[in-house]
Amino acid sequence: MTVKYADVALGAEIPVKRYRVTRVDLVKYAGASGDFNPIHWNERFARSVGLPGVIAHGMYTMAQAGRFVTEWAGDPGAVLEFGVRFSGMVPVPDDTDPPLGGTTGGATIEVSGTVAEKLGDNKVAVDIVARSGGTKVLTRSHAVVRLP
């Protein structure tokens, strides 16, 4: 555990984290989750259904927000409630240059959070926002976490 209930202040900001996502992450997520919708790995198909290109699974983005919370709490089992609204897509472009020191492909998901409420029973409510490419991709998102 990295935080304790007694030490958490109302309104405290959880340090912002930035998570890189590239095509291989989406392929791994497709395999691990069983969500093989081709909009998450096939550029041609994604464009054919009116998308800008391959986009991240909404659940991949949600999982990054989840990881943000569980890393803060120090325990993936501490998360009791977790809800998000998907307010924007995360396009994940393919590499445009060979990976020789450049990271031209991929996207960054930036997650921030605030302690919104201290509840009874060592529970705290956290408001979460995720952004990518200047757009809010998760809004009205929150978690309830039980801390030691």
Binding site: Y19, D25, K28, Y29, G31, A32, S33, G34, D35, N37, P38, I39, F45, V49, G50, H57, G58, M59, Y60, M62, A63, Q64, G66, R67, T70, E71, G74, D75, P76, G77, V79, L80, E81, F82, G83, V84, R85, F86, M89
Partner: protein, 147 residues
């Protein structure tokens, strides 16, 4: 095509029991970048008070999706999955899933509504052990984009 509103209130499942494995938990944790040893090391998980390694909270979607998939593919619903994007998702956990859990999922169609050319489908999936212990409820809003 508008979704068939007669599906509201229908219940799908429970389907076949799903056995949560250490390998799946580690694979999922790797795929999302969850670094916790509680997802990988049984001894560490037990020191933290869990019976075995625990799943990251969003792993429940794997079980929920398997439960909703049979409903989505029902021709009577009229869902074009290629036009679907995720609108909202929430999980309410009674406890984390852990390796060794054998669970079943039951999905209820909560609402269907048209929003211009789009349709919104809200489902709620209860995940419980085969002994009847509630583990998680996953609520999903899917949006079918208009053509």
């Amino acid at each position: 095509m508008a979704l068939n509103e007669e599906f509201v209130g229908r219940v799908f499942g429970p389907g076949e029991p799903y056995e949560v494995s250490r390998v799946k938990i580690a694979e999922f944790a790797d795929a999302i970048g969850e670094p916790s040893e509680l997802c990988r090391d049984k001894a560490a998980a037990q020191r933290a008070g869990y019976p075995d390694v625990i799943a990251p909270p969003t792993l429940a979607i794997v079980i929920a999706m398997a439960s909703t998939a049979s409903m989505h593919s029902e021709p009577g619903l009229g869902l074009d999955y290629s036009m679907v994007v995720h609108g909202e998702e929430s999980f309410s956990h009674s406890r984390p899933l852990h390796a060794g859990d054998v669970v079943v999922a039951t999905t209820t169609v909560e609402s269907i509504r048209a929003l211009g050319a789009m349709s919104m489908l809200v489902t709620s999936t209860d995940i419980s052990t085969t002994d009847g212990e509630h583990v998680c409820t996953a609520k999903s809003t899917l949006v079918e984009r208009g053509k």
